[in-house]
């Protein structure tokens, strides 16, 4: 239960930090900027696509609802 809360906290922190980074004048890099920078080259783009495909496949095609 504690670790579930930690996971939810990490997700919330990520979302909040992304919003904070996207504010005008922020000196921090947002996750979308990191992704955009990484995807400029072909290897980075392939890596991002593979990660995205894996997440979709794992979460939406192969999920098991816990009892």
């Amino acid at each position: 239960m504690v670790v579930t809360v930690v996971w939810l906290g990490l997700m919330a922190a990520s979302a909040a930090w992304e919003v904070r980074c996207r504010r005008p004048g922020s000196r921090w890099t947002s996750l979308s900027e990191l992704g955009a920078r990484m995807g400029r080259g072909l290897p980075g783009r392939i890596a991002l696509l593979a990660l995205w495909a894996f997440v979709g496949w794992h979460v939406f095609a192969r999920y098991t609802i816990p009892r």
Partner: protein
Amino acid sequence: MLSPDSPVPRPRPLGTTAAAALGLAVVVVVVVAYAWWATGVQPFTVGAYVAVGIPIVIVTVLALAPGRSWSPWPGPQEPATAPSHGTPAGAAPAPGFTPPDSRSGLGEAVPWIIILVAAVGLEGVALALGGRSAIVPTLSTVVDRGLRWHPVRLLLFCGWLSIGGVPTVRALLHLRHRAV
């Protein structure tokens, strides 16, 4: 005041904006309808693999088909007028681009690295404990709890589609914008 040599801004035809808005609305409705169907399919079935595989194939083909000539992948850091990354000097930025700033080092990404290290560490411990531990669950086990509700699956699926689809469509629009 515009000098005689200045480019005169061309007024956008009224129908163009309305058509673009209508087109976007149609795309959103189609995507949400698809997501509703895809998230209603039983997992571990051929239907589920096809439902998830179709957007993966479409996005992969769109993102990789132009190959190396497609650089740069546009993003919020895309220089608007600088002649770097193949963007010609003076070229107008595509819609949605913001001017560049000075953020380019790893130091500005430290909070993301901390979050990533924490997540990887937690996932590693959870997997070492078998992956289905009630004390230390994996991230997917936590997410699975929310997937029992169809609207949650729909929301997450739409989010997943937009993460893969929006940058790809934006890159294509950017390419087209540069070509014109």
